[in-house]
């Protein structure tokens, strides 16, 4: 590395540290907060400066990892969106979202396999399988609302959260019992690599077509959900229920119906996530681990924000990939999994509600 490679990132780091401190300063409440904020600002600035140095050293390689990480992050966001929907509308942290992705994926791939084995043309089999898996998710929503949530109406969030842990085990077990516990390949989107910017970087940068599809799907999904929440009567009712179950009920909002709708929408989001992740990994039990990937995304983006889920996904995706490649070689690899949680912890210390979440003020 030349002196320039150090000087430029060093300068960037100093400027960033100053800016971050200035941004965080307004929020500080005590001397301890201030120390924490200064510490985080300096660490972040050093990390970004370090990455800048790496980018100068090998711009092509850095861009490739950055783009790959951002696109991976969008795929995490697809799972995180399901969490956000349910939390936003019912105040429940739905631990079962990963299991719902598994159920949707298994229903889709197994029905698709069944139909194609019966000689149904792919063009007809795919929509039929999607309809079937949509119906399975509607059944899940109905059962969860009737036998899990309705008996717990007006209970506190922790009780409802615990009930979703129970639902997770039931869904995972039933799905594998009914549809099987193997690995079922799914190919709904192209998975070929493509090389971009060959004129700019030697060898170009490699991007997978599936990741690009994931980005497009996430964009469409977010736009649809935003419109649903903002412009439909049901969407507004969902937001009212999220604020206060009892108050919403007192003004005539049918809670049971609203909860069914929100779990159904989360089920459809899980189905969309399953189509992309199933194509990437094959539909199998491990898909439920995506819930663990979505958790830091939610903490960073905020549990109540749809755009936050996307932004959180991008930060986690890019952050963990860059950290794995560049920090991994210094402190030992395999840091990808916990690095996302370190990022989430840093955000928790500064903005507990997440970057885009609503600040909740409660009367004690």
């Amino acid at each position: 590395m030349t002196a320039l490679n150090f000087a430029i990132p060093g300068g960037i780091g100093a400027i960033l540290a100053g800016l971050m401190f200035a941004l965080l300063k307004g929020d500080r409440k005590s001397a301890v907060d201030m120390v924490v904020h200064v510490f985080l600002a300096v660490v972040m600035a050093i990390f970004i400066a370090f990455l800048a140095a790496k980018a100068i050293e090998n711009p092509g390689g850095f861009t490739e990892i950055l783009v790959g990480g951002l696109l991976s992050g969008v795929l995490y966001s697809l799972v995180a969106l399901g969490f956000v929907l349910i939390f936003k509308a019912s105040g429940v942290f739905n631990y079962a979202q990963g299991a719902m992705v598994l159920v949707a994926g298994l229903a889709l791939v197994r029905s698709l396999d069944f139909l194609t084995a019966k000689g149904v043309a792919t063009i007809a089999a795919v929509p039929l399988a999607i309809l079937f898996s949509g119906a399975v998710m509607a059944l899940c929503a109905f059962v969860i609302e009737k036998w899990v949530l309705r008996p717990l109406l007006n209970q506190d969030g922790l009780t409802l959260f615990m009930s979703t842990i129970g639902a997770t085990f039931v869904l995972e077990g039933l799905a594998q019992m009914i549809f099987g516990s193997g690995v079922y390949p799914l190919k709904l989107f192209p998975t070929d690599p493509m090389i971009l910017l060959e004129n700019v970087f030697p060898g170009g940068i490699l991007v997978n077509k599936l990741d690009v599809w994931g980005g497009v799907i996430a964009g469409v999904l977010v736009a649809t959900l935003a419109a649903f929440f903002q412009y439909t009567k049901t969407g507004r009712a969902l937001r009212a229920v999220a604020d206060d179950h009892a108050a919403a009920q007192s003004v005539g909002i049918p809670i049971s119906w609203i909860w069914f709708i929100v779990w159904l929408v989360a089920g459809i989001v899980a189905l969309v996530a399953a189509t992309v992740w199933g194509t990437k990994l094959g539909v199998q039990f491990s898909i439920t681990f995506l819930a663990l990937k979505a958790l830091p995304v939610l903490i960073i983006g905020g549990f109540t924000s749809v755009p936050g889920a996307i932004a959180g996904g991008l930060i986690v995706g890019a952050g963990e990939k860059l950290a794995e490649l560049y920090l991994g070689e210094i402190i030992g690899g395999g840091i990808e999994y916990w690095f996302a949680y370190v990022l989430a912890l840093a955000v928790l210390l500064v903005r507990p509600q997440g970057l885009f979440g609503e600040k909740i003020i409660e009367r004690i």
Partner: protein, 437 residues
Amino acid sequence: MRKLLGTAVLVGLGLATAAPVLAQGEQFIPVLSYRTGAYAVNGVPFANGTLDYLALLNERDGGINGVKISWEECETGYATDKGVECYERLKGKGATGAAYVSPLSTGITFALTEKAPGDKIPLLTLGYGRSESRNGAVFPWNFIAMGSYWTGADVAIQHVAKEMGGFDKLKGKKISLVYHDSPYGKEPIPALEAFAKKYGYTFKGIPVTHPGVEQKSQWLSIRQDRPDYVLLWGWGVMNGTSIKEAAAVAYPRDKMIGIWWSGAEPDVTPAGDGAIGYKALMLQHGPGQFGVHAEIKKNVIDKGKGHGKEDFGQVLYNRGLINSFIGTEAIRTAQAKFGKKPLSGEDVRWGFENLNITEARIKEAGFEGMMKPLKLSCTDHQGADLARVQQWDGKEWKVISDWYTADRAVLDALVAEQSAKYAAEKKITPVDCSKAG
């Protein structure tokens, strides 16, 4: 009334789903397995093979020399804590306690290695576990039969050298190891580093965290580094994801060699055509149906008592068969000394240490074509150093190499060094094998 009915249904369900084959006066064998979770795709066929061979002995021969076998399956989920819990729950069952335990996890093996000597229960770790446990003087209760990860590392490097045109061609080359970030995945590293010193290649280890569903950064780094070969030490979803990611970054699949735990059908089928050309080591055997399969079909499956279905004859199903074959042969060997009755773990340990599975016995048991003779002793708890290489052609595994024998000149020194280190750390006085009976 509703409560009563509910309780009755729950009790009925419990009885229906957890009915172990267990009776007093029988030889008890615990079966630690994983049929759920991230590693079920690999755990299920192995468990099915394990159980079907035990069932065959009971159905066809009335057990081992007339001593019926009983067993109970316990779900570990490939998690060390659950594996230890299963071991503790099952170790004392049956007339004489557990005959032996096969943990099917290097992590669980590491934990049980500490417990087995106290409980006097042998651990059969077929092609996995602590590589230095070959030294029976330090590890009298571990039996790493047929091969260790160091054997695998050696054979992989031999095959790479052969493809490159000789060991001298390894100098200056780059070999990377993509490994499951666990005791299992880390196990070959000392051997690969030792070979790197000997042959002059550059070694790089690339860890993948459990369960291995996200490997983009690892494979983009491989795209940038362009190693000459990539060795794969994965398990469960990690294997299929590695092959898919290799395809995604256009890394040639025929420059990838997996260990024998990364070379079964569930590892390649999710990647579809992307897996064509991928190679993996064979723990002697591959897929296919042999004499023992015909016996199982006739005596177990056709009677509706079998477990194997679409996995019947697949790589991991066959490994489950071999695992039970070796374990029950150790019991048979021990019966020759201690009598035809249920034996304790201590008796069976003697059986393992004096195990001699000959060509004739392999043929008689229907395993001809699946394994070579195996002879264990007090000093050598591994008994074989053989492996071959297979390649996936998109439909099936094809054997592409002759038999390789691992280079014991390097590996024995590693075994001696690491086992001495373990003995010193645990304050173990090695057994005097010259006095072993």
